[in-house]
């Protein structure tokens, strides 16, 4: 707490410093007025404050990996000047040491942005501080459904002057995912799965965003137990529970972070008795893809789809 409080107390000071720094800079917006009639645009993000963007933003800072991926996917990549330290995709994203969790307005303002996109902004503290430097802040919180994720694609498009690309991306993503779900074999109804977040058996329930993707295929989550909403949807399971539940499919979202794969899972004591291990249905996933609501979510859905198809045979 105390670590957090001191920077917050200093916010006004940072804002003043940043403001004086801005005083003799040429206005960025003037050169950007070429956007044809799309601006001003009014945005109403789910769970965030409504924002009106007057001109096409030319210097965008993204503080969330999911948003970074979406920005590049809608064609706003060359407007992005800085992204947070977790944003590692696409490769040409300008990754910096900025933190989206403990955002520092001074460090953000030093990139001289006209739009900052962040995942959460408690009490609008970041937004208020940045506003003093003439920067707008757009809060795009984590979606809880696929529909909300598609809506964010559209919103990012509108906010950056790529409304058509955003809408197109949303439609394409939805169609692809719906098609993958529709093509899944009927047998999937009886299959159970375990989604692993780390080697201490943290998992997700079907009430989470990731859990809903498995729901598309009618899979049953072993972490749900009696109540999918228990423990915020992210319970830590015991090895005994996983083995006892005997999942048909295991999905590993701890391959990059923790070096897990089908072999390490099979080597765990007692796990060689699980159907998923016996039938070679342990699926390694890219940790990043399995934890972001970016356009790459299609890749995640395809992994699940392939896994279900293989199990259905």
């Amino acid at each position: 707490m105390s670590r957090l409080r001191i920077p917050l107390l200093l916010l006004p000071l940072f804002a003043v410093l940043a403001l004086t720094g801005c005083a003799d800079r040429e206005p960025e917006g003037e050169t950007a007025s070429s956007a044809q009639g799309q601006f001003p645009v009014e945005l109403h993000p789910e769970g965030g404050k409504a924002v009106t963007i007057e001109q096409r933003p030319e210097r965008i800072v993204s503080l969330s990996p999911s948003t970074t991926e979406t920005l590049f996917a809608v064609g706003a990549g060359d407007q992005v000047v800085a992204v947070d330290s977790f944003s590692n995709y696409p490769e040409d994203a300008p990754t910096t040491s900025l933190s989206g969790i403990n955002a520092d307005p001074q460090a953000i303002a030093s990139h001289n942005p006209d739009l900052v996109i962040v995942e959460s902004d408690l009490d609008d503290k970041l937004g208020d501080a940045l506003a003093k430097t003439g920067t707008q802040t757009l809060v795009l919180s984590a979606p809880s459904t696929l529909e909300q994720a598609y809506e964010q694609f559209r919103l990012v498009g509108k906010a950056t002057g790529h409304a058509d690309e955003g809408a197109d991306l949303a439609t394409r993503t939805k169609e692809e995912i719906d098609k993958l779900a529709a093509d899944a074999p009927e047998t999937s109804g009886s299959l159970t799965y375990y989604h692993e977040l780390d080697p201490t058996f943290y998992s997700v329930t079907s009430a989470t965003f990731i859990g809903q993707i498995y729901d598309l295929f009618g899979l049953t989550n072993i972490a749900d137990q009696d109540d999918p909403n228990a423990l915020g949807g992210y319970p830590q399971l015991s090895a005994a529970h996983v083995v006892q539940s005997n999942p048909d499919l295991i999905f590993l979202a701890d391959t990059n972070c923790c070096g897990q794969n089908a072999d390490t899972v099979a080597a765990r004591p007692g796990w060689d008795t699980i159907t998923a291990v016996k039938e070679n249905r342990v699926h390694a996933m890219d940790d990043d893809i399995a934890s972001r609501w970016s356009p790459r979510i299609v890749d995640l859905v395809r992994t699940v789809s392939d896994a279900v198809a293989a199990a259905g045979r």
Binding site: A239, Q244, N246, C258, Q260, R268, T273, I274
Partner: protein, 349 residues
């Protein structure tokens, strides 16, 4: 009035009976935790499986269910017992050495050293998992020993002969090592979660391998500490009195400190940081069974094992998911501690 020799014999008998009762309770607790775990195996079927193992009969359990009992649940129960015994036994030893009822294995820099070393290892080798005996437990082990050693050297070089100097040195070392750990974490925010999970402590990723790693250290420490219990009683009289009985207080302290630190390091390495056991269990034993370390040390070993086995049972069954065991040890231990204090036996403190 009994004659001195008969009185001593009676005390010894009482001591044996106390430890025997403790062992009996431990056995019952361990059996309960093994038979009544999570999952719907049914305790009757687990009992039948155990019976089949003992007599060579047929078991009602499938291969998978048997693996749950013998590969997952049994090592967890055994390891909980070993870790509990190590932490509580070390706590009793530290309290005796420092003649300070607030001394605790973690107070002397063991936890901070283990935490710092574990953090650095996780940062340097991010693909290392926390659930086999890889670099992380080894680093924690070395870090715990290093933290205690640093406290000891600092306390000695500060010149103070009293135990207060050493405890203060422990506080300083702890603060410094924790600062290093926080600094390294801030530089590498993407590995924070791994370190965080580990610092909460837990036995949910346990196999026989962890048991074999911890067992020799804990057994060795238990034997040495029990053998040294009489010296702890002498130390409790004061350094001058100990010296007059022909015992070198300094040497005794080093031997007991090293032993208790080794036990703590072994426990930390396999289970992460589990607080509260080392300070509360010896206290409860002292309040219930008297002030002699010849009772406190063995009973702390037994009591700590029982306490942690039961705490781990609660940790894995209370919620749909796992509960960090440190939360359980504090929840269960603190009110019980307060209750024992209130019964009036706390006057002996």
């Amino acid at each position: 009035m009994l004659k001195p020799r008969r009185a001593a014999a009676a005390t010894t008998r009482l001591r044996f009976r106390t430890v025997l009762i403790g062992l009996l309770i431990l056995t019952v607790a361990a059996g309960f935790a093994l038979v009544a775990g999570t999952g719907e195996l049914g305790w009757q079927r687990v009992l039948a499986e155990i019976g089949a193992q003992l007599t060579g009969g047929t078991s009602p359990l499938s291969e998978r269910e048997a693996a749950i009992v013998w590969e997952l649940r049994a090592p967890r129960v055994v390891l909980a017992g070993l870790v509990g015994a190590a932490l509580a036994g070390a706590g009793a030893a530290f309290q005796g050495v420092f003649r300070n009822p607030l001394a605790d294995p973690y107070l002397l820099g063991a936890a901070a050293g283990a935490g710092m070393a574990a953090t650095i290892v996780v940062v340097l080798t991010p693909a290392v998992t926390t659930w086999f005996i890889g670099p992380l437990p080894l680093a924690a082990f070395a870090g715990a020993l290093g933290g205690v050693g640093l406290s000891y050297l600092l306390g000695r070089s500060a010149g103070g002969k009293g135990t207060a100097t050493l405890l203060l040195a422990g506080v300083a070392v702890t603060a410094f090592l924790t600062a290093i750990q926080t600094f390294v974490q801030q530089l590498n925010t993407d590995t924070i979660k791994q370190v965080y999970t580990w610092t909460l402590g837990g036995l949910n990723v346990t196999s026989w391998r962890e048991v074999w790693v911890a067992l020799p250290y804990v057994v060795l420490a238990a034997v040495v500490l029990c053998a040294c219990a009489r010296l702890l009683d002498v130390l409790s009289l004061g350094d001058a009195e100990a010296a007059s009985l022909g015992i070198s207080p300094g040497k005794v302290r080093v031997v007991i400190l090293a032993t208790a630190s080794l036990a703590t390091a072994a426990a930390v390495a396999v289970s992460g940081l589990i607080g509260f056991v080392g300070i509360v269990v010896p206290h409860i034993v002292r309040l219930l069974a008297g002030a002699s370390y010849r009772v406190i040390v063995p009973m702390s070993l037994v009591g700590g094992a029982t306490f942690l086995i039961l705490a781990d049972y609660v940790a894995r069954t209370a919620l749909p998911g796992e509960l960090p065991i440190g939360v359980v040890t504090a929840f269960a231990g603190a009110p019980f501690f307060a209750l024992v204090l209130r019964t009036g036996k706390g006057r002996s403190l």
